[in-house]
Symmetry: C2
Subunit: 273 residues, 2 copies
């Protein structure tokens, strides 16, 4: 059964497992119900995290324990507030859905109460995070850089949380301006392409062309593309071509590709194989 | 009830919610059981992802459907193999634990079977990802840069997966060499500090000193610190000081801080407030 055909000498051609990491995931929480227990500063950070991912949030906390940011989000109707301490029935019927929450985030200064909530969540298989109690967490939060559709998470796996924040800020400063917009535009290009060529049979051709676009232009070059450039780019799809960037730029202001001398050596096409 | 005290004019001082993102999490899967259904190329990638996070993995797939990498990991006893197609009882008694899996990853070319597994997982509240079927996913995977304890995940929230991979590679190339080692060393410093000053009452002092260390040295400077530098650094903890980097470097080779003239202007201390 054991075959060594995939080993060359003692060296495998497959990636070596590097244990000790986390499984970093993009959790889908849009329109899901998140229960936040506690209303202090840590809770405020958690609430922003889940609102940025379009969750519906209910905060259970006595009004006296609300920090100004949490109070602002309640007043602004961004979240639902239940004005009392946590009770176990919150894991069964939680407003506004009056069903069980899909995720529970606890940030209260009461280790005994926290542990009880953690155990109740585990019995019900509800993913939960008890702030500052790593063994009572299904998941940790990390340091996130956000620019429109682009999210970059930096984790040091608990070795240096402040370092993680520094590295995240450094990455944010290194990235070219407009990278979030560029990604948004690529998403729009993909959506427009589906309108221009809606035939399901063209799926593979559409996919090959999009991949070619990503390969021909570097991602930092794409930051400079305008909406007009994208529309012009789409005109090359029927002939299965991707024009050089300089040609796209020369087309700005309503010029058609035919009007531009592409034989001076600076322009050209990349034809999809 | 509505108070505008937290608004200045119409501008709030609190971060504005930026919807449309994902909730990016570091899922804790160490020693948890992950069921992978399918043994092809996508499954191979998923398996590496969860092994890097120290999960116990069981692959359910007929031997005929195993790709070389998955076969290698079975032969190498990195994962457990069940040689048949999925059956619903796999969600109740899965070897090696013979209990239900903590997570299910499906990568088979059979939409009907995939959807059935997804539904069974949802009934049992088991987090699941059905490859290439976004609506049947509790979470998505992203493009990850890994360097020891450092993990950086890039997500474009589905707008441009190839772009995400390019940005991830670019970030990897921008980072200074040795950043993973530096983070490891900061983790060791923290662990050593707890041995040098184990008194629980010193917790706040330890934490303030560690924060000061992170503030005085930039994270790229820390990439250059050696094990000897870390040991020398620890000798400054009792007096609650953090020496300048040049002093640490001058101490290399067994010199004590007293032997070095710190009054020439290039050295000095940062005393923790």
């Amino acid at each position: 059964m054991a075959s060594n055909s995939d080993n060359v000498g003692n060296v495998t051609k497959f990636p070596k497992v590097q244990g000790g990491g986390s499984l970093i995931l993009a959790w889908q929480i849009k329109n899901k119900h998140v229960l936040v227990v506690g209303g202090g500063e840590v809770a405020a950070g958690r609430i922003l995290n889940v609102l940025n991912a379009d969750a519906k949030v209910t905060v259970v906390s006595p009004s006296s324990g609300l920090n100004p940011e949490v109070r602002y989000r309640i007043t602004n109707q961004e979240i639902t507030h239940v004005d009392r301490v946590f009770q176990p029935s919150d894991l069964e019927t939680l407003p506004p859905s009056n069903g069980p929450p899909d995720m529970v985030l606890v940030a209260v200064d009461d280790p005994a109460a926290s542990t009880q909530i953690w155990k109740l969540c585990k019995e019900r298989r509800i993913p939960a995070n008890i702030a500052d109690v790593p063994p009572e967490c299904d998941f940790y939060f990390g340091s996130i850089h956000r620019d429109g559709p682009l999210q970059i998470m930096v984790s040091t796996n608990g070795k240096g949380p402040r370092l993680a924040a520094s590295i995240r800020k450094w990455i944010g400063n290194q990235l070219p301006t407009g990278v979030g917009d560029a990604i948004e535009r690529i998403g729009e290009l993909r959506a427009k392409l589906r309108k221009v060529a809606p035939n399901p049979e063209e799926g593979p051709k559409r996919m090959r062309w999009m991949i070619r676009v990503s390969d021909v232009y570097s991602w930092d070059e794409m930051c400079g593309l305008t909406g007009e450039d994208m529309d012009n780019l789409l005109t090359f799809y029927p002939s299965n071509e991707v024009p050089h960037l300089d040609l796209l730029k020369a087309m700005r202001g309503g010029k058609s590709a035919e009007d531009i001398d592409i034989f001076d050596g600076s322009f050209g096409f990349s034809v999809v194989a």
